[in-house]
Symmetry: none
Amino acid sequence: MGPKSAERGREVRERLLVAAVELIAERGWGGVSTRTVAERAGVGAGLVHYHFGSVQELLSAAAVAAMREVGGSLESLLEQVEDPADALRLMVSSLDDYTGDDAVSMVFTEAYLAATRDAQLRDQVAEVMAEFRARLAGWLGARGVAEPEATAAVVGASIDGLVMQRALDPALTSEVVLPVLVRMVQTPGGARWRS
Amino acid sequence: MGPKSAERGREVRERLLVAAVELIAERGWGGVSTRTVAERAGVGAGLVHYHFGSVQELLSAAAVAAMREVGGSLESLLEQVEDPADALRLMVSSLDDYTGDDAVSMVFTEAYLAATRDAQLRDQVAEVMAEFRARLAGWLGARGVAEPEATAAVVGASIDGLVMQRALDPALTSEVVLPVLVRMVQTPGGARWRS
Amino acid sequence: MGPKSAERGREVRERLLVAAVELIAERGWGGVSTRTVAERAGVGAGLVHYHFGSVQELLSAAAVAAMREVGGSLESLLEQVEDPADALRLMVSSLDDYTGDDAVSMVFTEAYLAATRDAQLRDQVAEVMAEFRARLAGWLGARGVAEPEATAAVVGASIDGLVMQRALDPALTSEVVLPVLVRMVQTPGGARWRS
Amino acid sequence: MGPKSAERGREVRERLLVAAVELIAERGWGGVSTRTVAERAGVGAGLVHYHFGSVQELLSAAAVAAMREVGGSLESLLEQVEDPADALRLMVSSLDDYTGDDAVSMVFTEAYLAATRDAQLRDQVAEVMAEFRARLAGWLGARGVAEPEATAAVVGASIDGLVMQRALDPALTSEVVLPVLVRMVQTPGGARWRS
DNA sequence: CATGAATGAGTTTTCATTCAT
DNA sequence: CATGAATGAAAACTCATTCAT
């Protein structure tokens, strides 16, 4: 086969992954069917299984890819700020952006639940989370935050929880939430690293 | 038929609600079918629709009832302690208990996601959450915690996020997590309410 | 539910079993699909799985029932004759009858092959065969045939083989085949039971 | 491209035929798919149709080739013995060998059934069988066996039937079966040709 | 109140076959 | 000759829901 063929295959895979992320956010993990995702991607329904073996594998691949992307964006985000409070501000900003288009936020929660029932997905999700935590913990530790590992874990979980609840409660804006979150990255004795 | 029938009906309803909560936790919201839940409850499949109109309504009713129960247990919990740190300790203790049997924890996350796509459920879940927050905020405010409303919201979201991630990461014990969470209920200048 | 309901269910099951036997013979084990068998039985396609769980289970149940019926007819057959040669004659008479309608003959071969790949079916088929052999062996032994167990086994296998090959070769009539088969039930020293 | 290409094509054909025989035995005629057989043969899926036109034609070609090979081996087998009983012994020896690897035995039964629903295959299978019978009949006739044509037919069918049933009943060894089969090649009055 | 048979649309998945490269 | 992407039909199976009893 020629390179054109392979190229087409690659593009179809990509389109399916994008469609999958969109639909996981819109309808939930269990609401994405072969037909739905193929239609959204504009490809034949048979291709889902040709390229990914099963709908579950497509969803897993799509979710993990989306999560990795977010994890990657964290790195550049942390390079742009110095103050932990500013970092938190950037991280929770997704709360205000959320209008239903911010597919990726919802995908995190969906993936957590799906991972609960899929060992392979669990491993991949756990890896992405561990990477995220390690990076954040390093950054926090370098800035004098106490117990950086645990802090990174709780900050991550808190943001996930807030994203999840924000979908149900529009009042949960970053403005409201930030002051409380910031307390987690302040040393007990006061804002020492600020001076 | 007289009271016997009515009594039997009430019991069937109860059995279906219990079975629904168990199955939501085990298989996820979308994994609970009429047959499954009827079998688990030990009743005929037709009764699901007789008593609840639809599977979705059964799941919603079951989830909201479970959430209310947790909310209620919070009240008695707050009456038993005085120190906010102790309150958090009791609240996150569910993390360590979680072994897969703790159906209720998972039901929260499942209900949040389901509520995203079901207006009626959203209202009910929002109500339970608002009640929970108000109660916790009042308690925190009375103990000198700054911004009690926002604090209560973030504490609730954080615990939900931690419960969710704990299912994927056994290392996320309450012991690890508590010291960080406690920072949220301490005033910036120090543990003033302690003195 | 009332008795009418149960009655209807029983009849649907029966119709599906009959349709399955017909179609196994016509199209082969692997050629019977949910739709095909439901249409032939004149019932909704969903009922196949409602009543039998899977197409395979329907086919297995149908085949085993058909085989048992043949086994049962053997008993009455053996009661009607005294001479082993006459018994063989009656048994191989199915060869000449076969025009494509004699579904049951073909079902035996199909079931043997299917049993090769289905442990549960294998057990059931083996049981039917064992019963058949035991009955025939007893009858043969009572009439002085040497090694009645082995003889019964080989006679059974030979008839199966002949039925199978007869579908491909019309010349393989009972008339041609009988004189050779009869040798198997004659004692080496001569036709002692004939005298 | 020159001979290289042609040579490669021949080898691919051969590999597909071998894979087909294996898979017919393992999964049954209807269980062999384009993908399956191409994968087993280690070639691209498109080649099945390039070389054989359809999966059915590949299976037919493979089965007939395998049957011819067995037929050919019979010839050399008959040259090695003089006593019909010894010939039978060698022929049924495949019963004891059968452990699931003896692909060819199963292929016979599968091919018989498939031939029932495929006119072209029926003709080819009938030809192989006729050739086999003629050869065996000649050999038997030369050794004084009565009705050699019919005897050859019944012996062949019996062995097929035994091979088939042996897959379900391990007790059906050649040792058990042989004494009965031998009766078919003995003249009624006794083992005259032995003396 | 309760049962469970029935329906029909929906699901995932498999597959033979075609075809551009 | 060979590849493997693509198609479209059909497969098995599930399910919420209805309804006669």
